[in-house]
């Protein structure tokens, strides 16, 4: 394999692996497992609603920190304030409880791809094999800490809610704020406190 082809292949692998390894949820918000044990914030939740009319397809209803969850309701703290979402048929919920660091698997696989150039002709075998393994490992890791619910009750989301006991009575949700690790929030969200 020529150096040029190998570099193109490695770049392609990076794109594929990066795409596969992309864990849902904004990186500036999610905490890794060792950080999560010291905090008590909710996971990042997305609700996508499918229209009965196929013309309209699926639309994002809400995205933000999960405050509390019931079988048919989610309380979500978005960048513009709190919202309560009531379950509708065919709703799809994705809840990310922690930053699963799947990108590190992809990076490791990319590094191995470069290392496989030392295999000479055998990189024709070891490089694509490594991509395959890297894609599988990255994808597997990207599902760690992720809960997906399609068209079913939402109680299971409680585990990663800020208030797993339910919304505290008398609490004014308007006083709650999103916390970000990174200095800038994603577009459309308010500046962190």
């Amino acid at each position: 394999m020529s150096a040029r082809r190998a570099s193109i292949a490695a770049a392609a692998a990076a794109l594929v692996l990066g795409g596969c390894a992309g864990a849902p949820g904004p990186r500036g918000y999610l905490s890794t497992a060792p950080e999560v044990v010291h905090t008590a914030r909710g996971g990042w939740v997305k609700v996508v609603r499918s229209s009965a009319d196929a013309t309209f397809g699926s639309q994002l209803v809400v995205e933000g920190e999960l405050l509390a969850a019931g079988a048919d309701t989610l309380h979500v703290l978005t960048g513009t304030g709190p919202l309560t979402v009531v379950r509708a048929p065919r709703d799809r919920v994705t809840l990310v409880g922690l930053h699963n660091r799947a990108g590190e698997r992809a990076l490791a696989s990319l590094g191995l791809s470069i290392l496989s150039l030392s295999n000479g002709w055998y990189s024709v075998i070891t490089m694509p094999l490594n991509w395959l393994v890297g894609i599988v490992e990255s994808h597997t890791q990207s599902r760690v800490g992720v809960l997906e619910i399609r068209d079913g009750p939402w109680d299971a989301c409680r585990t990663h809610a800020r208030f797993p006991q339910g919304m505290p009575p008398g609490l004014d949700p308007q006083r709650l704020t999103l916390h970000w690790y990174w200095p800038s929030a994603p577009r459309g969200f308010s500046t962190p406190r």
């Binding site: 044990v37 010291h38 030392s118 055998y122 760690v144 800490g145």
Partner: protein, 516 residues
């Protein structure tokens, strides 16, 4: 009956276990929740307790003890908006809480697949560093075919390791198909070598329907027909005729002798009803890595003195540069023998070519009127890979049309300087590791069918590897070059210790299989 252990499977399991144990892990999280204080998990090093108040506050305990009416421990109290309200030891009545969560850090997945790939790539890389020729090719390599179907069709002048050993190499291009009268070959330097290429011309020989044209050892071309594979081929391991019946890259190999690398073996071939008339034996073969090993060993013995020693040999000292090839020459080519009529065998010629990469087709014309129903091949054990043997009826001699390249392309762009150099017999084209140039040849106009050959002339210089640059052992080097027979005996144990690994690299390569 007791089953035999399977070493390969055991090794794989061992690698997987080691990989599983050694691979870096990304910590995971295990969260459990309960409303019953009695069910709260006991404190341990990797566990944290989150006790939720009804009003949204939460107490996170690093260490705790659940008593009859209270929870005591060290931690932090967070408000509903998760701002810190208090830090320190707390004693909180149990009925203040509505829910208890315990977070436990788990070791997480270890990505054993990536760990195994690290081992595989590392091992292959290590073996390639030990034996670069097995992985990166050597001498100028010539490829045909486009993207996705590129295959090795020839390697040039493998034994020309110094300028004075400059030689011409002729390779049949059986797998090359012209497209619209044009042949394109990729010439590459894939090794740590400097190549000096005097020319790389295509020789096109006209052929008739159902006919092939082969080059005999003297450089002449003969039309051949009636290619007849052996009915039987008896070697030490049994009848190997099946492996030799077609040019299909299914090769017959053997292992070197443990005490003397020059030890020969014989293969007795039987041909049913050989045709009458002029006959020739066709052999398609390539070498193992034995001669490569010997050459590298010689360079490592010369060590840091390799440059000056090679210069001395170039000037004709110590027997001249040819002496560098003596260990390899002691291994010999493939002797072809016929019954001598007295119960023995007589050698009528030999076939073969230096080089472990591309398969070469050779034709040996047999003596007129001989009985070719029985042919014996005598060859060095572990030194050859035999792909195809056939008896052929020789036709008329043919003249080749010489076709220098009509264009040379680098990265798709015309490179007139390279083209002029290759077409000028007084100059050589220098190629460094990584160089690749596409050579375009235009066949003579007309509808005729052509047998194609590549004639490459030149020499190359092996680059010294870091691991060879130790203190020279000139006495051992002198023995190796001056007493090749004795050296082949002395080196047998060392070669045997690496032989299987070298072979495995080659045989494990799909690339090489596809290239043949």
């Amino acid at each position: 009956m007791r089953k035999k252990p399977i070493p390969g499977l055991s090794l794989l399991l061992a690698v997987l276990l080691v990989a599983e144990g050694c691979a870096p892990r990304i910590p995971g999280l295990e969260r459990t929740s309960t409303t019953e204080a009695a069910a709260v998990r006991a404190d341990d090093e990797d566990t944290w307790l989150k006790a939720h108040y009804r009003d949204g506050r939460v107490a996170i305990f690093d260490s705790w003890q659940v008593l009859q009416r209270t929870v005591e421990g060290d931690g932090v109290l967070l408000g509903a908006d998760r701002d810190t309200l208090a830090v320190g030891p707390f004693v909180v009545p149990l009925d203040s809480f509505v829910l208890f969560e315990t977070d436990r850090l788990t070791p997480g997945r270890s990505a054993p697949g990536l760990a195994v790939m690290t081992v595989v790539i590392g091992v292959v890389g290590f073996l390639c560093a030990l034996n670069p020729k097995a992985c990166f090719g050597s001498c100028p390599t010539f490829y045909a075919g486009g993207d996705g179907d590129e295959h090795l069709v020839a390697e040039g002048f493998s034994s020309s390791v110094t300028p004075t050993l400059e030689a011409t190499d002729l390779d049949a291009l059986w797998r090359v198909r012209p497209v619209d009268g044009v042949v394109v070959l990729q010439m590459k330097n894939e090794a740590l070598e400097t190549h000096a290429i005097r020319h790389a011309d295509l020789l096109a020989v006209p052929r008739g329907p159902g006919e092939r044209v082969l080059a005999d050892g003297a450089g002449a071309f003969r039309a051949v027909s009636g290619l007849n594979p052996p009915a039987a081929g008896i070697a030490a391991e049994g009848d190997i005729a099946e492996l030799l019946r077609a040019p299909d890259a299914k090769e017959r190999t053997s292992l070197a002798d443990s005490f003397d690398l020059a030890t020969r073996e014989v293969i007795d071939l039987r041909f049913d009803a050989p045709a009458t008339g002029d006959l020739g034996l066709v052999v398609r073969s390539r070498q193992s890595l034995m001669s490569t090993y010997l050459f590298y060993h010689a360079l490592s013995l010369l060590g840091a003195e390799a440059g000056s020693c090679l210069a001395l040999l170039e000037r004709g000292g110590m027997g001249g540069a040819q002496s560098l090839l003596q260990p390899s020459e002691a291994l010999g080519f493939i002797e072809v023998q016929l019954p001598d009529g007295a119960g023995g065998w007589r050698t009528v010629g030999e076939v073969g070519e230096t080089g472990p990469l591309a398969l070469n087709v050779h034709l040996l014309p047999l003596p007129a009127g001989c009985d070719a129903s029985r042919v014996r091949l005598r060859l060095t054990k572990g030194h050859w890979r035999l792909d195809w043997v056939a008896l052929a009826t020789l036709g008329e001699a043919r003249e080749a049309v010489r076709l220098p390249p009509s264009a040379a392309l680098r990265d798709g762009f015309d490179d007139p300087e390279t083209l002029d150099t290759l077409r000028d017999p007084d100059h050589v084209l220098a190629a460094l590791p990584g160089d690749a140039v596409s050579l375009v040849y235009e066949l003579p106009p007309g509808d005729g069918d052509w047998e194609l050959f590549l004639e490459a002339r030149g020499w190359y210089l092996e680059w010294m590897r870091q691991e060879w640059l130790g203190s020279p052992d000139l006495a051992a080097a002198s023995r190796l070059l001056g007493d090749p027979a004795g050296s082949l005996r002395r080196l047998a144990p060392a070669y045997k210790s690496v032989e299987s690994g070298m072979e495995e690299i080659f045989w494990g390569s799909r690339y090489v299989r596809a290239a043949r």
